[in-house]
C-alpha cells in the first residue's frame, strides 16, 4: 500500500479514536478489486450483482477466515458504467494489496474491451463471466481474458436452440422471422455475427433492431415489430432497456412468450416494473437462476446475521445477486487452485491466472461449495477460457422466475471457427504472437 | 481647419428611404459628402440620423434609393463590404469589444490590412510575425496620437466612458478609412473631454485627410468643427449648407423649437 494511504489511514484512525485493525495484518491478504456501478442508468442491475460479489467474499472471510487463511481484501470502485472511469478504477486498484489485484471483473463490455490489452501487460486476469468479448474464449490469443460460463455467441446459439425446440425442431426454423432487439453498444452487437451464421445455417430471417442507450424510448422499434410480426424477439438489453422492452411489447400486444432475453435481460428489475405485463416473458439463464441454495444459508448465517450484509436480506437469492455470488466463487476457487501450486499466501495476478486456467470444478466440489443445482461442472483450459457453455431458459410468472427448459449446450464446432477468425484478426492487429496451447501443460 | 481639397464627391446618398415595420425612419433623403470635409448631420432626437449612418455603412438596407461611394453605386451592401471600401464608424453607445484590452481593440481594427492567413498566424513566425509587428507599430502611432498610452493594456470594460470613446475612435482610425462616420462622438463627455475629442477629430481630418461625417447634438461643437451641415427632422432633410446658413434656416429653427417645447 502506498505510504500516503497508510498515513492518512492512521491519521484518520487516531483522529476519530476508532480502533481499526492494524495495517500490519495486511501482509496476509489477497486483494480483489470490484468495479461496480451503483449509480446512473444501470445501477438497477449493477447494484445487486455487486452485492452478491461482496457478500461472498465476506462469507469466505467470516466463515473460513479467508482462502486457506489468506484474507480477502476488497475495495469497490464506482465506474458508473463509463469506460474511462473504469480504466481509472482499474489503474487505481490494480497494484493495491501486498500482491496487487488477483483479477479484475469489470461487469461492462466496454470496459472489458478497454482493459483487455492493459491487463495482459499488467498480467492481471480479467474475468468476464457471461459477457465480454466472445473471441476471448481463445486463451491462446487472450491469455488473461476469461469469459467464464458462456459468451454471447454461446448465448445466441442456446437461444436459437430453444426457439427450435419450442417450434418443434431445427427444420421448423426455416422461413421464420427472428428479430434481435439489442442495446446499441458492443455488448448488444456481440451476438449479431453468431446469429447471422445461425440464420444462414437454419434459414430463418434475422433482423437486428438497435435501441439507443439507455433505451427509455422504444416506441418506434415496437411499432416496427408490430408491423413486421417476427416469430421471436431476442432481447439483448441491459438496465432500463429490458423493462421498457417488456412494457412496449405489452403496449403493442406482442406476446411476451415470444420474447427471449439474454441472461442479462432476465433478472427481477427487468420484469417487476412491468408488473403483470411481464408475465410469460422468457430469458436465458447463465446456468443459474434466482433462488436460494446451501451457499445462501451460509451467507445469511455468517454475513447477514452479523450485520455485514450489503443489501436487504430479502434480495439475497435474486438472479443478479446469485450471479455475483457465482462470479465471486469462481474467482476464489481459482485462487485456491493457484495456491496449490504457489503456496498459501497472497498471490500475484499471474499466479491466479494459472489457477484460472487450471480450474476444474467437479460436481462434487460444486456441491461441497454449496452451489449444488446452480452450476454444472466447469473445466477451463488454455484453449477454452469459457469452461462450459450450458444454459437453460426461465420464464417470469408474475412473481418469480420459473425454469422451463432443460440444459442446452452451445454448439462448439459452430462457434469455434468464428472465434478463431476474430481472435486471429485481433492478434494480427496487435502484432501479438499467439501461444501454442498444445505445448503447455 | 483645412478646407476640402476639391469638390470631389466621396459619398452620394440618393433618395434613400427606410422603414421599420411601418415606421418610416428615412423619407427620400439625399445628401453628399465631399472628399476631405468634416460633415455634420444634426437633428432632433428620432430624426433618423443614426439610421442614416447605418444605411451608409451597410448595417441597414434601405427600402429604396442608392448609395454611391467612390463612384460605385449600389442599393445595399454588407457591413464588412463597407468596411473594406474604406468606411469606418463609431457608435453612439460605445461598441467596443469588452473582453479585450484597448490595444487589442485597436489591433482588431487592422483586420482588413492583415495579409497572412491562418497557417502563418499559427506559426507566428517570419512574415506573419513581421506583419503583426508592423500592425502593432501602426496601432502604437494611433495610441500616441490619441494620447492613450497609459491605458493601452487595460481591458476596455474598466475604462471611463470618455476614454472608451477615444479607444473606439482609435479602432476606427486603425482601419485607415477614407470616410469616418462618428455617431455622437462627444455624447456624455465633460467640457475638457469634448475639447480633446474635437481636437482629435480636427487632427484626424488634417493629418490623414480623412473625410468625416459626424452626428452631434452640441451645436457649438458642430459649428466649430464642420464645414457643412445637413439637418434631418422626422426622416426628412430640412436643411443643408454651411453652419451659418443652417443656423439661420427657418426650418431648422422651427424643428428645434418644436422639440424644445
Amino acid at each position: 500500500m502506498p505510504s500516503i494511504a497508510c498515513n492518512a489511514l492512521i491519521l484518520a484512525t487516531v483522529a476519530s479514536g476508532v480502533v481499526v485493525s492494524a495495517p500490519a495484518a495486511a501482509q496476509n491478504e489477497q486483494f480483489i478489486p470490484i468495479l461496480s456501478y451503483r449509480t446512473g442508468p444501470y445501477a438497477v442491475n449493477g447494484a445487486p450483482y455487486a452485492n452478491g460479489v461482496v457478500d461472498y467474499y465476506n462469507l469466505i472471510n467470516e466463515r473460513d477466515g479467508g482462502i486457506n487463511g489468506v484474507k480477502i481484501l476488497v475495495e469497490e470502485c464506482e465506474t458508473g458504467y463509463a469506460t474511462d472511469k473504469g480504466v481509472e478504477c482499474y489503474e487505481r486498484l490494480k497494484s493495491k494489496g501486498p500482491t496487487g489485484a488477483a483479477f479484475i471483473n469489470p461487469l461492462s463490455t466496454g470496459i472489458t474491451f478497454a482493459l483487455t490489452e492493459k491487463t495482459a501487460t499488467d498480467k492481471i486476469p480479467i474475468i468476464t463471466m457471461g459477457y465480454g468479448r466472445a473471441d476471448s474464449k481463445n486463451g491462446a490469443v487472450f491469455p488473461y481474458n476469461f469469459p467464464l460460463l458462456g459468451t454471447y455467441w454461446s448465448a445466441a446459439d442456446i437461444a436459437i436452440q430453444h426457439v427450435a425446440k419450442e417450434l418443434g425442431g431445427f427444420d421448423k426454423l426455416k422461413g421464420k422471422k427472428i428479430s434481435l432487439l439489442y442495446h446499441d453498444s458492443p455488448y448488444g452487437k456481440e451476438p449479431i455475427p453468431m446469429l447471422q451464421v445461425l440464420a444462414q445455417k437454419y434459414g430463418f430471417e434475422f433482423t437486428p433492431i438497435p435501441v439507443t442507450h439507455p433505451g427509455v424510448e422504444q416506441k418506434s422499434q415496437w411499432l416496427a415489430i408490430r408491423q413486421n410480426r417476427p416469430d421471436y424477439v431476442l432481447v439483448w438489453g441491459w438496465g432500463v432497456m429490458n423493462s421498457t422492452a417488456v412494457k412496449e411489447a405489452a403496449a403493442v400486444a406482442y406476446p411476451r412468450e415470444k420474447m427471449i432475453g439474454v441472461w442479462w435481460s432476465g433478472a427481477e428489475p427487468d420484469v417487476t416494473p412491468a408488473g403483470d405485463q411481464a408475465i410469460g416473458y422468457k430469458s436465458l439463464m447463465l446456468q443459474h437462476g434466482a433462488g436460494k441454495f446451501p451457499v445462501h444459508a451460509d451467507i445469511e448465517k455468517y454475513v447477514y446475521a452479523k450485520g455485514k450484509g450489503s443489501t436487504d436480506s430479502g434480495k439475497v437469492g435474486e438472479v443478479l445477486y446469485n450471479r455475483g455470488v457465482v462470479n465471486a466463487m469462481l474467482g476464489v476457487e481459482a485462487i485456491r487452485k493457484a495456491q496449490e501450486k504457489f503456496g498459501q499466501k497472497p498471490l500475484t495476478g499471474e499466479q491466479v491466472r494459472w489457477g484460472l486456467e487450471n480450474l476444474n470444478l467437479s460436481e462434487a466440489r460444486i456441491k461441497e461449495l454449496g452451489f449444488d443445482g446452480m452450476l454444472k461442472p466447469i473445466k477451463i483450459s488454455c484453449s477454452d477460457h469459457e469452461g462450459t457453455r450450458d444454459g437453460r431458459v426461465q420464464q417470469w410468472d408474475g412473481k418469480s422466475w420459473k425454469i422451463i427448459s432443460d440444459w442446452y449446450t452451445a454448439d462448439e464446432p459452430l462457434i469455434d471457427p468464428l472465434v478463431r477468425d476474430v481472435s486471429a484478426k485481433y492478434a494480427a492487429d496487435k502484432k501479438a504472437q499467439p501461444r501454442e496451447c498444445s505445448k503447455e501443460s | 481647419m483645412r478646407a476640402p481639397d476639391t469638390n470631389e464627391i466621396l459619398l452620394q446618398v440618393e433618395a434613400v428611404a427606410l422603414s421599420f415595420g411601418g415606421v418610416r425612419a428615412l423619407k427620400d433623403v439625399s445628401f453628399n459628402i465631399r472628399k476631405g470635409e468634416i460633415r455634420a448631420i444634426i437633428g432632433p432626437n428620432g430624426a433618423g440620423k443614426t439610421s442614416m449612418l447605418n444605411v451608409v455603412n451597410g448595417f441597414y438596407h434601405p427600402d429604396h434609393g442608392t448609395i454611391t461611394f467612390k463612384g460605385r453605386t449600389r442599393d445595399k451592401m454588407q457591413p464588412f463590404e463597407a468596411a473594406r471600401g474604406g468606411i469606418a464608424r463609431t457608435f453612439q453607445n460605445v461598441a467596443l469589444f469588452k473582453g479585450m484590452s484597448a490595444l487589442d481593440n485597436i489591433m482588431a481594427g487592422r483586420t482588413l490590412k492583415v495579409r497572412r492567413g491562418l497557417l502563418w498566424q499559427v506559426l507566428r513566425y517570419g512574415p506573419a510575425l513581421r506583419e503583426e509587428l508592423e500592425h502593432r507599430h501602426r496601432v502604437e502611432e494611433i495610441i500616441d496620437f490619441l494620447e492613450i498610452e497609459a491605458i493601452r493594456k487595460v481591458p476596455v470594460g474598466r475604462l471611463p466612458y470618455g476614454l472608451q470613446k477615444r479607444v473606439e475612435l482609435g479602432r476606427a482610425l486603425a482601419m485607415e478609412p477614407e470616410l469616418l462616420l462618428l455617431d455622437e462622438p462627444m455624447a456624455g463627455m465633460n467640457l475638457e473631454e469634448k475639447e480633446d475629442m474635437s481636437r482629435f477629430i480636427v487632427d484626424v481630418n488634417n493629418q490623414y485627410g480623412t473625410t468625416i461625417a459626424l452626428i452631434e447634438h452640441d451645436m457649438a461643437v458642430v459649428m466649430d468643427l464642420s464645414e457643412s451641415v445637413a439637418v434631418l427632422d422626422h426622416g426628412v432633410k430640412i436643411a443643408d449648407g454651411t453652419p451659418d446658413e443652417v443656423k439661420n434656416s427657418q426650418a431648422v429653427i422651427e424643428a428645434y423649437l418644436g422639440v424644445a417645447h
Binding site: - | 483645412r2 490595444l103 502593432r136 507599430h137 502604437e140 502611432e141 495610441i143 500616441d144 496620437f145 494620447e147 498610452e149 497609459a150 493601452r152 487632427d203 488634417n206 493629418q207
Partner: protein
C-alpha cells in the same frame, strides 16, 4: 570606471563612449509602447548627422540654441549636437508660460529653439515677435505641425536625415564637423542654465566644459557609477539636477538615460526600467510615502498588521543592516523575512528595486521620511548644491549618513562658512559667470574666488558635516534678538504629513507666527476615516478638528526647538491655516515648488496683520488663476489660533 580624464568636451566624450561602449545602450525612450533604444555608437552617429544638419541651418560656434520640452532623447541630442558645433544649448523649463519663455529666449539670444511638440512650438511662435534673433524652431514630434511654415519650423527627424545625407556626400562638411570637435576645448561654454530663482527674474548660469566634466568625473567616481547603470530622466530638462545627473554624468560614466513615455506614466516607466541611480527631491519621496501609506490603508487587516510589524523591524534594524553594522541574529532574521515579505516587494512596486544610489536634495528632508526609505534598504543620501556649483557642494558618503546634515564637501570641493554664517565654496564645476551679467557675477563671488551660496549653515560638531539652516538673507532676528531661521522652522513643520506648506514670519517682530497649508491627500484621508464632513478644501482647512490636529504638530515643533539653544526663543506663538493651496500659477510658488515668501506676505497682508494684532479671525480675498487660465477671486474668513510657548523646563519634563 570611466571618467572624464583627458576628454574635456562633451563631443569628445560622446565619441569616446561610442568607441568604448559602442554596443551599450545610451538612451532609451518609452515610445510607441516599447523602450526604443539607442547605443552609444548609434547616438554618436545621429548626433553627428544632427550637428551637420544644424550646421547647414546656420548654427555657428557661440550661438545659443534653446531646448524646450520634456525629457526626450532628441532634445538631449540637440544639446550634444549643439555642443559638437561649439554652440551653446540653453535648456528652458517646459512648463514656463509664454512670458517667462520669451524672457529667457530673448536674454539668451537663442538663434534656434528645439521644442518638443506642437504645444511648445506654438508657445515659442506666439512670442516670436519679441525674439529678433530667433531664426527657426525645430521640433521633435511632428504631429499637428504638418501645416506649419517650413521656413520657420522643421522636424528634428528631418534635420538629422538631411544632415546624414549631406554627410554622406559632402566631404567638406564631414571635415568641418570633425574640426569643430577637434577645436573644442575645456574652456568652451558648455551650457547655460537659467536658475528659476526664488526671487526676481532668472539668471543664466554659464558653465564650462572642463568644469562640468571634472565635477561629474569626481561624483561618478564617488558613487561608483559605470556604463552599466541606468537612470530615469524625468526631472525638468532645464534644471541643473537633470542636466548634471542625467546628461553630464551619463556622458561621463557612459550610462543609459531612459526617458519616460509621458508625464502620466512616470511611475509605470520607473517600474519598468528599474533605474540603478535615482534622484528625487524630498517632496518626491514624500509623495511616494504618502501614496504608499494610503494604499496600505485599504489592505486587509492581516496584511496591514504584517506591514506595520515589519516596518517596525526595519526602523529598528534597517539602517544598521544597510550600513553593515552589527545586528543581533534575531533582528537579522526578522529583517531578512521582512525583506522577503515587505521591503523588496515595496521597492519593486515603486520601481526602486535596482537602485544602488539614490539622492535627494533641494530642501531639507524629513528625518522620518529619510529614515523610512533607508530602513527598507534604499541607499538614499543627501547632497547639497546649486546651479552655480554645477550641483554638488557636499554629499553624503556611504556609511556616514545623518538626516540633519548634508554631508562633507564633495571631492575636490572646498567649503567654508563665512563670518556672516553664509556657506561658501570653490569647486571644479563652479560656474564661469552669469550670462551677460558681470555685476551679478561679481556679487555672487568673494574676492578670493569662492562662490557665495546665500545659505546659512554650520558644521556639525560631531561629524564635521555641513548643516544648512536657511537662506542667509532670510535668517533674521526677533525684536528680542533671538535668531529666527524661517526655513528651518518651516521644514520642521512640513515634516508632519498633515502640513504641506508652511511660511513663518518673525524677522523684526515680537514673536513667530506661521501660515500653513494642509496636505489635501493626507487630511482628506484622515477626514474620511474619522467621519469628518467637509464640502471643499476651504471648509476642510477651516475645520476646528483640523486646527486641533495641526496645533498638536505645531506644539511638537515648539518642543523640538527647545533643544536648539540658538533657536529656542523662536517658537511659534500663533498660526493659521490658509484657505487655499499655494499655487505656482498664482506666483505663490516657484516652478520648482518653493514658496515665495515675499509675495505671500503681500497677497495675504490682512492675515499677516491679524496674526500680529491679536485678533482671532481675519477676512481675506485673493485673486486666483484657474487651471484653464481664467482668473477669479476667492474670499474666506480665516481663523487664527494661539500656541503656548514651551519653556526649557517643561520640555525636559516631557522628555523625562
Amino acid at each position: 570606471m570611466p571618467g572624464g580624464g583627458s576628454f574635456d568636451t562633451f563631443p569628445k566624450l560622446l565619441l569616446r563612449n561610442a568607441a568604448q561602449f559602442g554596443t551599450h545602450p545610451a538612451f532609451r525612450h518609452k515610445d510607441l509602447g516599447i523602450w526604443q533604444s539607442w547605443t552609444w555608437a548609434q547616438v554618436a552617429e545621429i548626433v553627428r548627422a544632427y550637428a551637420a544638419g544644424l550646421h547647414r541651418l546656420g548654427l555657428q560656434p557661440g550661438d545659443t540654441i534653446a531646448v524646450v520640452g520634456a525629457n526626450r532623447p532628441k532634445l538631449y541630442w540637440t544639446m550634444m549636437a549643439a555642443q559638437m558645433l561649439r554652440a551653446i544649448p540653453v535648456p528652458v523649463y517646459a512648463e514656463a508660460v509664454a512670458d517667462e519663455l520669451a524672457f529667457v529666449l530673448a536674454h539668451a539670444e537663442a538663434k534656434l529653439v528645439a521644442a518638443q511638440d506642437q504645444e511648445q512650438v506654438d508657445k515659442v511662435l506666439s512670442v516670436s515677435d519679441r525674439l529678433p534673433q530667433l531664426d527657426k524652431v525645430v521640433y521633435d514630434e511632428p504631429r499637428g505641425l504638418d501645416g506649419y511654415d517650413r521656413s520657420r519650423s522643421i522636424a528634428i527627424g528631418n534635420i538629422i536625415e538631411e544632415g546624414r545625407a549631406a554627410l554622406a556626400t559632402d566631404i567638406a562638411l564631414r571635415k568641418s564637423i570633425d574640426d569643430f570637435v577637434q577645436a573644442g576645448n575645456g574652456s568652451d561654454v558648455a551650457v547655460i542654465l537659467y536658475t528659476s530663482g526664488t526671487t526676481g527674474a532668472s539668471k543664466g548660469v554659464t558653465l564650462s566644459s572642463r568644469g562640468c566634466i571634472d565635477a561629474a568625473t569626481d561624483t561618478t567616481r564617488f558613487d561608483g557609477l559605470t556604463h552599466e547603470d541606468v537612470v530615469l530622466a524625468y526631472l525638468p530638462l532645464a534644471w541643473v539636477g537633470d542636466h548634471y545627473l542625467n546628461y553630464v554624468q551619463g556622458l561621463v560614466a557612459g550610462f543609459c538615460t531612459a526617458c519616460p513615455e509621458s508625464s502620466d506614466t512616470i511611475e509605470q516607466d520607473r517600474h519598468e526600467i528599474g533605474p540603478t541611480f535615482y534622484f528625487a527631491p524630498p517632496r518626491g519621496f514624500e509623495a511616494m510615502l504618502t501614496r504608499l501609506m494610503i494604499r496600505m490603508e485599504d489592505a486587509s487587516p492581516v496584511k496591514r498588521r504584517m506591514f506595520n510589524y515589519f516596518l517596525d523591524v526595519a526602523r529598528l534594524h534597517g539602517e544598521q543592516v544597510l550600513t553593515g553594522r552589527p545586528v543581533p541574529l534575531s533582528g537579522r532574521l526578522l529583517y531578512a523575512l521582512g525583506r522577503l515579505l515587505v521591503y523588496e516587494p515595496l521597492k519593486n512596486v515603486l520601481g526602486l528595486s535596482r537602485v544602488r544610489v539614490a539622492y535627494t536634495a533641494g530642501e531639507a528632508i524629513g528625518p522620518d521620511l529619510f529614515a523610512f526609505f533607508r530602513s527598507i534598504g534604499l541607499n538614499l543620501k543627501q547632497l547639497y548644491g546649486q546651479t552655480e556649483a554645477f550641483l554638488y557642494v557636499t554629499c553624503q558618503p556611504d556609511g556616514a549618513i545623518y538626516s540633519d546634515t548634508v554631508g562633507p564637501a564633495a571631492p575636490n570641493v572646498d567649503v567654508r562658512i563665512a563670518e556672516s554664517g553664509e556657506v561658501q565654496f570653490r569647486s571644479p564645476g563652479m560656474f564661469v559667470g552669469y550670462f551677460k551679467d558681470q555685476a551679478k557675477t561679481a556679487e555672487a563671488m568673494t574676492p578670493d574666488g569662492y562662490v557665495k551660496t546665500g545659505d546659512a549653515g554650520i558644521f556639525d560638531e560631531k561629524t564635521g558635516h555641513l548643516k544648512i539652516i536657511d537662506r542667509a538673507k532670510d535668517v533674521g532676528r526677533l525684536n528680542g534678538g533671538t535668531m529666527f531661521a524661517p526655513k528651518y522652522l518651516e521644514n520642521k513643520l512640513k515634516f508632519f504629513p498633515n502640513i504641506k506648506e508652511a511660511i513663518t514670519f518673525g524677522d523684526s517682530r515680537e514673536f513667530v507666527c506661521a501660515m500653513l497649508n494642509i496636505d489635501p491627500i493626507a487630511v482628506t484621508n484622515w477626514a474620511e476615516r474619522n467621519n469628518v464632513a467637509y464640502g471643499s478644501y476651504q471648509e476642510l482647512a477651516g475645520h476646528p478638528l483640523v486646527y486641533d490636529m495641526v496645533a498638536n504638530d505645531v506644539a511638537a515643533v515648539n518642543r523640538s526647538l527647545v533643544e536648539e539653544k540658538v533657536l529656542a526663543g523662536a517658537q511659534i506663538r500663533r498660526f493659521l491655516i490658509l484657505h487655499k493651496e499655494l499655487d505656482a500659477d498664482d506666483g505663490e510658488l516657484t516652478r520648482t515648488q518653493k514658496v515665495r515668501r515675499r509675495i505671500i506676505a503681500e497677497r495675504y497682508a490682512p492675515l499677516l496683520a491679524a496674526l500680529y494684532d491679536g485678533s482671532y479671525e481675519a477676512d481675506i480675498s485673493t485673486e486666483v488663476t484657474f487651471e484653464d487660465g481664467r482668473k477669479g477671486t476667492i474670499a474666506a474668513r480665516v481663523k487664527i489660533r494661539d500656541m503656548q510657548a514651551i519653556g526649557a523646563a517643561e520640555s525636559l519634563e516631557k522628555a523625562a
